[in-house]
Amino acid sequence: MKKLVSAPALFAEAGICLIVGLLLGFWWAPVDASSLGFSQKIFYYHAPIAETALVAFGVAFVAAIAYLRTGRLTWDRLSYVSVRLGLLFSILVMLTGMIWGKAAWDTWWAWEPRLTTFLLVCFLYAAYWVLRSVVDEEQHRATYAAVFAIIAFIDVPITFFATRFLPEGLHPVVITTGDTGMEGSMLVSFLISMLGMTLLLAALTRRDLAIEKLKDRVADLKSTIGG
């Protein structure tokens, strides 16, 4: 079991799921019959990346609360790493979304609820990054960052539900209660890609946490040698 969740195993599992999801999405799932046409194929990675970004911010939120409760820097590291990965995935969502928007609606950008709230999420977590870089003392930095991560997370559910509460925008609602709005083959391809992206997030989180641990070890050793 331990081997299955090691970083190399998670990378391999993620890779397999992502390749299978993509192959199924292209060769098994039909071309979308709506106006989206072939450009709908972007969806098989675009939507899972978006969901994964929101999951990463959720992890950062929980880890931030855990840090404030316990004061353990391990939680701060997890929150920091999750924000970093959430931002990475968010940038991918924005880029692929713009390409899809141009293909489907002939516009790179529209100030509509989903896109605007997602952009706001990106700016908020970019500000988290800036905040961390301007505070030197470790405990203070971790505390401020944790408070900020909790506040920034308020925009995440707003982004998720934006298309449901304000459906007049361009962005479609893909999955609603009781109806996925997708054919069976499309849904299977999407779910496999979703699993792949989640595993990729887990693998990258493990590796980035290892990096943070190594950075701490280097700092400790430097202070030992220096002292």
Partner: protein
């Protein structure tokens, strides 16, 4: 939109995803290796410094 036009957009989107994820993957792998090397060097240095002092203390 024709399928030929759609293919261009779809290929661009997947190329960006692949490129960004691969760059991040290899950069983080490189960072791990560099940090492991630093830790090893610093541990060796720490041992080297402790060695004579420890020996002197024992005498």
């Amino acid at each position: 939109m024709s399928i030929e036009e759609g293919v261009k957009f779809v290929a661009s989107a997947y190329a960006i995803i692949l490129a960004v994820l691969m760059i991040y993957y290899f950069m983080s792998a490189r960072r791990v290796r560099a940090l492991q090397r630093d830790v090893q060097l610093l541990e060796d240095e720490a041992k080297r410094r402790q060695g004579p002092a420890g020996g002197a203390g024992a005498e």
